[in-house]
Amino acid sequence: MQLPQYFLADLPDRAAVTPAVVTEACLSLKSNRRQFLRERNTDSMVAAIAAVAEDWLDPDNPFRRLALAEGPSALGFSRETLSAGLDAFFRTLTAENLRALLTQDLGNNQRLERLSPAEGETYPRQLAFAQGPPLVAHITAGRLPNPVLTSMVHGLLLRSAQFVKCATGTALLPRLFAHSLREVEAKLGACLEIAEWPGACHDLTDALIAQADCVTAMGSDETIAAIRRRVPWNTRFLGYGHRVSVGYVAVEAMSAFTLPKVVAACAQDVIAWDQLGCLSPHAIYVETGNRQTPHRFAELLAAELDRLEGICPRGRLSLDEAASIAARRGFYEIRAAHSGDTALWRSEGSTAWTVVYENDPRFHPSCLNRFVYVKAVAGVEQALEGLDSLRGQVSTVGLSASGLTEQRLAQRFAAWGVTRICPLGRMQEPPLTWRHDGRPSLADLVTWTDWEPGGRG
């Protein structure tokens, strides 16, 4: 299937993108929005998004087929990893979930159409009306599509025109998603632009920022800070910087009966998107005290990762990425030979997966690509001490515990500053209502009008 040249990222000649072209594209987007989006109601937007998402789950969908055919070489994920990741993402994009997000963030899903009370209020003291920014510019980073696609869905719900600026080599999936929207409704496609240019092309980025009413940016903390400096103070800016995630397994989940299930769930979190997302675990903290030790957990996790490599192989790595895994393995092998407090399991003849067991709670960032630490701890306080240097930067804790313990641990992690706690095995599958980095998603984008009616005084 050959994609029509509809978006800037479709053009074979990247040099065709100049500041004037970017400005022109932004002006068209705004004009198309006025014509096609402003008067759309929420229900029709929800229905359109949900329909496109459902199409993406169909193995015969040509856009999905193209994603799976070109994704492995363009993005470095295996076909199986891509397929599983896309399924997990599009499964959550249902009409029901979209409405739940609107209600959670805006209090009522009519509030994008008219002044309305919060849901359930019969005699409101205040009514409110929310409007999305006319043009949102998304400056994205990384090969993982979920954050970009989620941002695009948010913009659609708010009826904003959107310009998605991708990092070099990462536009494939946003492009295909945009084409799939356009095929369902050409007018939706006309309010979207996808382009790709290097971050060093400041003239292009500045042209984009100059037209945008809101800028979202993802990337390293340094990248976010650099983009932020280019955004005028009165343009809304939302930056999503560096975050890490970990797993936590309570001692009661370590019984001989539950352990295989917990290990299988944990391995799913490690292999999803080859562990490259902010929501992927760098380390799994495992409580001691059961006959099944954290060391045993690590050993079983290694076996499970080995099994999964046959089913859902890791993508190909650059020399640099493979070298950083090789260097770490070499180091941990020496350490393991020296002391029983460290152990190492690794794939034979490749860097496909690596498990390092350490009887030391201090967090050390993984080099990812299915390289995971298993750390023995006596309890949650010891894990939090080990994570102390990352306070405020932990996105997700994948938790395996039950009943009251689960509640107690979740409360402890929440109070410490973790922004999302979910069951192990679902770390890379946040619900649509997930508050990215602890911030509301739609509510951070809109501008409110509040009305305190005086009629009944």
């Binding site: 993982l144 990337g219 090789a326 180091f331």
Partner: protein
């Protein structure tokens, strides 16, 4: 024979080989034999290596090829004492340049292993750079003198070169400040270069990449260009280490050649590290030189470029992780895995640079800046 005596006898055999190479004699390749002998000793006497062999179940006799000798990653030198010397035998310690906190490698020597280090360094420097014992040069060094940088193997080597080949005007032109940083006396350096340019003794200008950036930045304005005497050359070593502006090496070399009136083949580079006792120098193809710089170690050290995926040596022209097997590492371990990426070029290698040390960052693995 005791272990100490065996090490001594090994060192004597290696020295004889080095001397033969230094004298230009055509001698048989002794590398495999000596590598086995040294590995046998080290796998008994260097405890982290002994533990590694035991954990892997390696019996020395079962290994077929010296390339199968287990490598120790440079990172391990930061945590473990990789030496067969007891603490009271250690008389010198070289450290890697990352001196912040405790995050540096250490390599210990006793007088015998230090003498071997020196012979290895000086012999190959002379062979690679075409100097004969007794040749005198104006050796200008852009690092502090040895007394101010006692743990730098690089400064130790420059000191050695200066003592062996320097004339009376030779000098070290940096000082160590209170934080241990090296501060170049740029004005004095340019004065020394101008003075040397007025004479006929060829100059050897030795320094790190960042010291050369400092030199170029500190060039006095309004002075006529410096043209060093025929036979002069620059030897640049090491990285920028965040201590200066980082310009591409080819730009740095071109700027140095221009500033000092030197042809491209007179701006040369060295590859070395404190974990090694031998150094590699780049060699040149054509005049003016074309293509990448290819580094070569002396015959008693071998570069092997391996695939990080499989750990096996890559084919000629392919890239991978650089391992060095250095027989002059008598008292530590002979097989080292560096964190540098390289292309295999026959028996030599082209350096691609350090594998990314920065931790990949979740969703921002590929920064928006790319």
């Amino acid at each position: 024979m005791t272990n100490a005596a065996e090490f001594r006898s090994f060192a004597a055999d290696l020295l004889a080989w080095m001397d033969a190479v230094g004298e230009g004699n055509n001698v048989a390749d002794r590398f495999p034999t000596l590598a086995w002998r040294l590995f046998g000793l080290q796998s008994e006497c260097v405890s982290p290596l002994r533990d590694l062999c035991r954990a892997r179940g390696i019996a020395r006799d079962a290994l077929r090829d010296w390339r199968d000798i287990p490598v120790v990653p440079t990172r391990a030198f930061k945590e473990f004492s990789i030496t067969s010397l007891s603490p009271d035998q250690q008389t010198a310690e070289f450290r890697s340049s990352q001196t912040t906190g405790r995050d540096f490698s250490r390599c210990s020597h006793d007088p015998e292993s230090l003498a071997l280090y020196e012979r290895s360094a000086l012999t190959w420097f002379r062979v690679a750079q075409g100097l004969r014992p007794g040749d005198r040069r104006r050796v200008l060094v852009l690092t502090p003198p040895k007394a101010e940088a006692p743990h730098s193997s690089l400064v130790h080597m420059f000191d050695l070169i200066c003592r062996a080949h320097g004339d009376e005007g030779s000098a070290f032109l940096s000082a160590g400040d209170s934080t241990g940083a090296w501060v170049l006396a740029a004005e004095a350096a340019w004065a020394a270069l101008r003075e040397a340019a007025a004479g006929s003794t060829p100059v050897l200008l030795l320094g790190t990449a960042f010291s050369f950036v400092h030199l170029l930045e500190g060039r006095p304005t309004g002075q006529p260009p410096v043209r060093l005497p025929t036979g002069s050359f620059v030897l640049e070593t090491g990285g920028y280490k965040g201590r200066s502006r980082e310009l591409p090496k080819s730009d740095l070399h071109a700027a140095l050649g221009k500033a000092l009136g030197l042809a491209p083949q007179c701006v040369r580079t060295e590859y070395g590290m404190c974990e090694l006792s031998s150094q590699a120098y780049d060699t040149f193809r054509g005049d003016p030189p074309a293509g990448p710089r290819v580094f070569r170690f002396p015959p008693w050290a071998r570069a092997v470029v391996v695939s990080p995926e499989t750990g096996r040596e890559v084919a000629d022209g392919e890239s991978g992780l650089l391992r060095v097997y250095d027989l002059a590492n008598v008292r530590s371990v002979l097989a080292i895995e560096t964190e540098d990426l390289a292309v295999r070029c026959g028996a030599g290698f082209e350096l691609l640079g350090r594998a990314a040390r920065a931790e990949p960052r979740g969703c921002s693995l590929m920064p928006a800046a790319t």
